[in-house]
């Protein structure tokens, strides 16, 4: 969805990008591949919440989520499927690992003040 820019890549994601180039190069033969360094990567669940969820769930568009001890599995299900007017979010937007962190964060976060 959004997040850090090129200058803030973690080593983990740069490594992932290098591996991805390797895989692509193998299947593509000698064809040159463009760098696959991503434009952003989520830092943690709190960042996903602040940069996506909060725009609706902290502004009364959607229901309040934090401080309710919601089940992380339920959160993940709703994020991927949407719910009525809430859109679904794809793995290309919030990857599986970040979704796990997000669900954990929302489930344990204190209520909005």
């Amino acid at each position: 969805m959004c997040g850090m820019t090129t200058s803030r890549h973690s080593a983990r994601f740069i490594l992932a990008a290098v591996v991805a180039i390797g895989i692509a190069a193998r299947v593509a033969g000698a064809a040159p591949e463009e760098a696959t360094q991503p434009g952003f990567a989520w830092k943690d669940g709190a960042e996903v919440y602040a940069k996506v969820c909060a725009f609706c769930h902290d502004t009364a568009v959607g229901p309040t989520l934090r401080g309710r001890g919601l089940d992380p599995t339920y959160i993940q299900l709703i994020v991927r499927h949407g719910n009525r007017a809430m859109p679904a979010f794809r793995a290309s937007e919030i990857d599986d690992q970040s979704l796990e962190k997000l669900a954990e964060y929302v489930s344990k976060a204190e209520a909005n003040k």
Binding site: M1, C2, G3, T5, T6, S7, A20, I23, A24, V27, A28, A31, P32, E33, E34, A35, T36, Q37, P38, G39, F40, K51, V52, F55, C56, T59, A60, V61, R80, H81, G82, N83, R84, A85, M86, P87, A88, F89, R90, A91, S92, E93
Partner: protein
């Protein structure tokens, strides 16, 4: 035997699709070719009054490079597999991330999300299709760039490439987004990579500075179309002004819209009001402040009397005009006097500025959007009716008061017939306005969903019969809207399709265009 796929592309056998998927995986890797029901669930969520089965994808491809996309189109041509390209997939109420037709493969470019260049002097950006407005907004802050975006209502979760390619609009002086687009890179169906206009000159440094290039201007044919896959997109940014003054003007009668538009047109044409201001009906803003159940009991549309009561209860106008002034203090002061003199003459207008309203959410979200801020509170719209159904009806209207009133009356009459509310606004250009109606319905109610479909159909037919065409539509009604335009336009579109995509692999059905 049941297929292992949720759906198959039209006319493609499972064996052929197996071969295509295998080749897609060869290019992208196993994990970036999605075919399971669980992986594809988010791609099938729609708000339209049609079954999700109509728009179920067969697969989704997560590509991140131009070379991958070139190979993907090669595979699609070989196996005659159609792809539906999305960037952020948040075209909510217009089709979201779902393909136009059941079985199309979604080419999801959200992970292709590098900000390639931002020039703070010339005020432009060059981005990949998956870049969101929020990503850019944070980038400007991080680099301390005094640059403003122009964003549509989904702001943070949407992005400039997809919104502009669908000819979406925002609310700043740069609100007509395609007018501020400058330079594209496009992967064509044959795998060639086209850079438009000045991008065609190897050493050019004006790709994002001069729109037209030499010869025919091509960028337009890659908007609302299916002639190529845009992989780089350039656009202009507004330098942040020293002073920003958003304002709200309330009027209390529906027929006042004639006066509003007649006053607003010369102010827009002369540049006194430089941004795409909005004339919003009370019901467009009602979800922010009121519950429908407090004003309506039982089925059917809300009554005019209840709307007046609602507006009074929540200090809203029946019409709510929001616009803004940008510039130095002297410029803003002079233009504010011109605005208040013009709207103040009849004595009907009530002026409100930031100082008057404090943290009022209606003023707050409008003020945020008119400076390109990240704010999704417009989607309180969805709380008005509830149930997750939404279709945007978007006829174009002259910036003329009498036309405005006529369109509103037509829309209200048809909506009332189907028990739906007039949740409308006019986004004010110079000579035209986008009349935007969010046709809200409860998608969990089968009868209302059926009525919503019929209502939208009648809106298209009735408006087009009066010469009012839609500027954009959702994926369930693309053919119907295309049919309202001259068959010669459709024929030319088809000729271009045949020339540029002879196998018809790119987004068949977009804007009613097929081989």
């Amino acid at each position: 035997m049941a297929s292992k796929y949720l759906a198959l592309p039209k006319g493609v056998s499972e064996a052929t699709f197996d071969a295509a998927v295998k080749e897609f995986r060869g290019v992208l890797g196993e994990t970036h070719v999605l075919t399971s029901a669980e992986q594809l669930a988010p791609y099938a969520k729609v708000m339209m009054p049609v079954p999700e089965a109509n728009h179920t994808p067969s697969a989704a491809l997560l590509a991140t490079t131009v070379e991958q996309i070139q190979k993907i189109v090669g595979i699609c041509n070989k196996h005659k597999v159609p792809i539906w390209t999305i960037s952020t997939g948040k075209n909510l109420g217009y089709g979201s991330a779902a393909p136009a037709e059941r079985g199309q493969v979604v080419l999801d470019l959200h992970r292709m999300n590098r900000i390639l260049e931002v020039d703070p002097d010339l005020c432009y950006a060059l981005v990949e299709p998956g870049v969101t407005y929020k990503q850019l907004y944070d980038y400007f802050k991080e680099h301390n760039y005094a640059l403003w975006l122009s964003v549509p209502a989904p702001s943070a979760i949407a992005g400039p490439t997809g919104n502009t390619l669908d000819r979406g609009v925002g609310y700043t002086p740069y609100g007509e987004h395609f007018m501020n687009a400058c330079g594209m890179e496009v992967v064509l169906a044959n795998g060639e990579v086209l850079r438009t206009a000045m991008g065609g000159l190897p050493k050019s440094n004006t790709w994002q500075c001069f729109k037209w290039g030499y010869g025919p201007y091509l960028d337009g044919i890659f908007t609302q179309s299916n002639y190529g896959i845009v992989t780089k997109f350039g656009f202009w940014l507004q330098p942040a002004p020293p002073v920003y003054k958003p304002f709200l003007i309330q009027y209390q009668h529906e027929e006042d819209v004639v006066e509003i538009v007649e006053i607003m047109r010369p102010l827009r044409l002369s540049g006194v009001i430089p941004n795409s201001g909005v004339i919003a009906h009370a019901l467009y803003e009602a979800g922010l402040k009121a519950k429908r159940s407090d004003y309506v009991s039982g089925p059917g549309s809300i009554s005019d009397e209840a709307v007046r009561r609602l507006a009074k209860d929540h200090n809203m106008g029946i019409w709510n005009v929001t616009a803004a002034l940008y510039g130095t203090k002297e410029q803003v002061d002079v233009n504010w006097k011109i605005v208040t003199d013009a709207f103040g003459k009849s004595g009907k207008a009530k002026f409100l500025t930031q100082e008057d309203v404090g943290d009022d959410p209606q003023f707050g979200y409008r003020a945020a959007l008119m400076r390109g801020g990240m704010d999704l509170r417009e989607f309180n719209l969805y709380n008005w009716r509830g149930g997750g159904g939404s279709l945007w009806f978007a006829p174009v209207c002259q910036t003329r008061g009498s036309e405005t009133l006529k369109q509103m009356a037509m829309a209200k009459r048809i909506l009332t017939k189907y028990g739906l509310d007039y949740t409308g606004e006019f986004i004010v250009g110079m000579r035209d306005m986008h009349h935007i109606l969010d046709m809200l319905f409860d998608r969990t109610d089968p009868e209302m969903t059926k009525a919503a479909y019929q209502c939208f159909d009648e809106l298209i037919a009735t408006f087009s019969a009066e010469g009012y065409g839609s500027y954009r539509t959702n994926t369930a009604f693309m053919d119907k809207v295309a049919d309202t335009y001259d068959p010669i336009q459709r024929s030319v579109n088809r000729t271009l399709k045949q020339a540029l995509d002879p196998n018809g692999i790119l987004a068949p059905g977009k804007s009613g265009i097929r081989l």
